[in-house]
Amino acid sequence: MGSLFGDWPSFDPHNFSQLQPSDPSSPSRMTPATYHPTHSRTLPPPDQVITTDAKNILLRHIYQRAEEKDLRPKRAAPEHLVPEHGCKQPRASSSSC
C-alpha cells in the first residue's frame, strides 16, 4: 500500500505499513470490553438528584454538630446523678452547655 502519510518525511517508510486505515463501510471487529454489574445493590435510587450544597464547609459543620446534639442518645438516670468513679466529674455550670 502507499505510504499512509503521503509525502511526509519519515525515518523509515515501512513504519506503519501494517496499519490499515479505518474504513467506514466495514465496521471494526474490535469491540471494547464492557463490564456488567453482577448485582444491583449499588444502584442509585431512581429519584436521586445530586446537587451542590450552597453552604460553606464551616456552616455545614455547625449545622451538623447542632443536629448531633439534638439526636444525642438519652443518658440513664443513675449515671447522671451519682458519679460511679472518682474520676468522673459532674458537669460544670450552665455556661459550659
Partner: protein
C-alpha cells in the same frame, strides 16, 4: 516547580512546566521572591495628610486631610524616568524621582464632613466590584447621654453619624445613611461588616443590627433591622395586634405615650417591651431552653437541669447585649454577645462572652457557644478562612495567610498553644479575635508566610500601629536558600538622633506592586518620617 532562584530561569521554566493542579496562583506568587521592594527613599516630602490605606485592588490610595474633614484620593503610579547610560544600576535616582508625586497622582479632594463633624479616619470599607468606598463622619460623642427611647445606658451617644457611599473613580457621593443619637463602634471597622453587597452596622446603643444592601446604582437600601424584631414585618404585626393584648400591669399603661420617641428607623421600642421579650433575645433564650430540654429525656431530671442551667442564669442571659457581628455567608451572622460591663470596659477577660450563629432568613439561632468552647475553637482552627468571609468577587482575599491555609502560620499557632499554661485561657484568647473585622488585613504577597519570614511583632498584614524600631525589619525567604531578600527600615537614613522617645510605626503595602509606605510617628500623632520602599 521552580528549580532555580534566578528570575530568567524561572520565566523559561514557566513556559514549559504546568504547576500542580490548584496551585497556579501560588506558583505565580513565587515571582514575588524575585521582585522585592528593596530600595528605600528616606524621609519623603509628602502632603500633610493621614494616609489610610491602599484599596484592595490597588487602584487608589485613600487619605484624609489633617483636620479630618476632607477625603483626598491618589492613584498609585510608578516612576517614569529613563537612564541612557550603560550601567544604570550604579546611578543614583534623580532628585526629581525622590518625591511623593512621582509615585502618586492626586485624583480629587472631596469634603465629606461639615463644620462640626469629623471623618473617622480609622474607618474605610471598599467594595471592589463597583469601586465604591464607604466612609463615616460623626459629631463628637457625648459620654453622659441619658438612656432614652430604648437605648441602653453605658454607651456614649453620637448626635449625628453619617455613612457616605462614594464612587472612588470620580469622588461623587452616591448615597448616605444617617444615624441620630446612636453609637456605632467605628475605629478599625469594628462595628460594620461588608460582605459582597451587604453591609451590617451594629448600633450598640439601640442593640440593633442594621442590614443594608449596596445596589449597583449606588443606593443604600435598608434590608432589615435585627434586634427588637427579626422578620421585616414583625413590627407591623406586633403593633396591629397591640390592642388585642391584655396588659398584665395596668399601672404601666399611662407611661406608654412617653415611650414613643421618634428617633429614626426602628428606634422606638414597642410598648410591649415590659410584658415580653421579643426579637433576637427571644430567639436566643428559647434556643438555650430547647437545647437543655432536648438533652435530658427524663422528666424530673429535665426540670432539675433547666433550673440549674437556665433559670439560675436567666437574668444574665436576658442582660446580654450584642457586641460585634460578622457575616458568615449571605444568610448567616456570627454575633458576639457580652455583658454591658464587658463591652464598655473593653477588658474582656473577666466578663463572659458568647457566640451565636444566627440565620437571618429563618430567624433561628443555629448554634450558641461560650467563648471558651472547645468545639468552636476546633472550627476556628480548621476553618479560619471561612470566618474571614469574603465575597465571591475578591479572589485575592483567599490567599491571605492564616493558620488554616498555611503550614508556617499553623506551626506558630501550635507553638503558642503548647506554651499556654491554661487551655481554656488559650481558647478564650484565640476566640477573642472573633468576630473578625472586615478588610483589616493587607493582601500583599510580601506577607505570605510561605514566601517570607518576618517578625510579626514589628510588621504584619493587619493594619495596626506597632512599636517602632530603628533596626530594619528583615524579610527572609522561607524556601532554601533562606536568604535575606529585603529590609524595611523606618525613620531617616542616618537613624534618628533621639533614641529615647517611644515611636510607633505603621505600614501601607500595595496589594500587588512592590511598593510600600512606612510611617514613623512620635507620640504627637504627626508623621515624623515617611519612607517609600519600592523595587528600583
Amino acid at each position: 516547580m521552580f528549580r532555580s532562584n534566578n528570575i530568567v530561569a524561572r520565566i523559561f521554566q514557566r513556559q514549559i512546566c504546568t504547576p500542580a493542579p490548584g496551585t497556579s496562583v501560588h506558583c505565580a506568587r513565587r515571582f514575588y521572591e524575585n521582585l522585592v521592594p528593596s530600595f528605600t527613599i528616606y524621609d519623603v516630602e509628602c502632603p500633610d495628610h493621614s494616609f489610610r490605606k491602599f484599596t484592595d485592588d490597588g487602584q487608589y490610595l485613600i487619605s484624609f486631610s489633617r483636620n479630618n474633614q476632607d477625603l483626598i484620593v491618589y492613584r498609585p503610579t510608578w516612576l517614569s524616568f529613563s537612564c541612557k547610560e550603560e550601567d544604570c544600576d550604579s546611578h543614583d535616582l534623580p532628585s526629581k524621582a525622590r518625591r511623593f508625586e512621582s509615585f502618586f497622582t492626586q485624583l480629587y479632594s472631596v469634603s465629606l464632613a461639615s463644620c462640626n463633624e469629623l471623618i473617622c479616619k480609622d474607618f474605610f470599607l471598599y467594595m471592589d466590584s463597583n469601586q465604591y468606598g464607604i466612609f463615616a463622619t460623626s459629631t463628637v460623642p457625648s459620654q453622659d447621654a441619658p438612656a432614652t427611647g430604648g437605648a441602653i445606658p453605658g454607651f456614649p451617644s453620637i448626635e449625628k453619624m453619617t455613612f457616605h457611599l462614594l464612587r472612588l473613580e470620580d469622588g461623587v457621593i452616591l448615597d448616605e445613611k444617617v444615624f441620630h443619637n446612636d453609637f456605632v463602634n467605628l475605629p478599625h471597622n469594628m462595628g460594620v461588616f461588608l460582605y459582597d453587597d451587604l453591609l451590617a452596622i451594629v448600633s450598640l446603643r439601640y442593640q440593633t443590627v442594621h442590614i443594608l444592601q449596596i445596589r449597583d446604582s449606588g443606593n443604600l437600601v435598608d434590608v432589615r433591622a435585627i434586634g427588637a424584631y427579626c422578620h421585616e414585618d414583625d413590627e407591623l404585626f406586633l403593633n396591629s395586634n397591640a390592642q388585642c393584648m391584655a396588659f398584665p400591669d395596668k399601672s404601666k399603661m399611662h407611661q406608654l405615650p412617653q415611650n414613643h420617641v421618634q428617633n429614626g428607623l426602628h428606634h422606638s421600642q414597642p410598648n410591649l417591651e415590659e410584658s415580653f421579650l421579643s426579637g433576637i433575645k427571644q430567639r436566643l433564650l428559647s434556643f438555650i431552653f430547647h437545647r437543655i430540654w432536648n438533652e435530658e429525656k427524663d422528666r424530673t431530671l429535665r426540670v432539675q437541669c433547666l433550673k440549674k442551667k437556665f433559670y439560675f442564669h436567666f437574668q444574665d442571659y436576658v442582660d446580654l447585649i450584642i457586641w460585634k457581628v460578622q457575616f458568615l455567608d449571605r444568610h448567616h451572622l456570627l454575633i458576639k454577645f457580652g455583658s454591658v460591663e464587658g463591652v464598655v470596659s473593653r477588658n474582656a477577660d473577666q466578663h463572659p462572652a458568647f457566640f451565636a450563629v444566627y440565620n437571618m432568613e429563618t430567624t433561628e439561632i443555629v448554634a450558641f457557644y461560650q467563648n471558651s468552647a472547645e468545639d468552636l475553637y476546633h472550627l476556628f482552627e480548621q476553618y479560619c478562612d471561612h470566618f474571614h468571609s469574603t465575597s465571591r468577587n475578591s479572589l485575592y482575599m483567599n490567599f491571605i495567610s492564616s493558620h488554616s491555609n498555611n503550614i508556617h502560620a499553623l506551626e506558630q499557632l501550635r507553638s503558642i498553644k503548647n506554651k499556654a499554661t491554661s487551655s481554656s485561657q488559650f481558647v478564650k484568647k484565640m476566640l477573642g479575635s472573633l468576630p473578625f473585622s472586615c478588610q483589616s488585613q493587607s493582601p500583599s504577597p510580601y506577607f505570605d508566610q510561605s514566601l517570607f519570614r518576618f517578625d510579626e511583632k514589628l510588621i504584619s498584614a493587619t493594619d495596626r500601629h506597632r512599636p517602632s524600631t530603628d533596626h530594619p525589619i528583615k524579610f527572609i525567604l522561607r524556601r532554601p536558600p533562606c536568604s535575606l531578600k529585603f529590609k524595611i527600615k523606618l525613620g531617616p537614613e542616618a537613624g534618628s538622633a533621639d533614641g529615647r522617645t517611644k515611636k510607633i510605626s505603621s505600614f501601607l503595602f500595595h496589594p500587588f506592586l512592590p511598593l510600600a509606605l512606612s510611617f514613623q510617628y512620635t507620640s504627637f500623632s504627626q508623621p515624623s518620617v515617611v519612607n517609600i520602599h519600592f523595587r528600583r
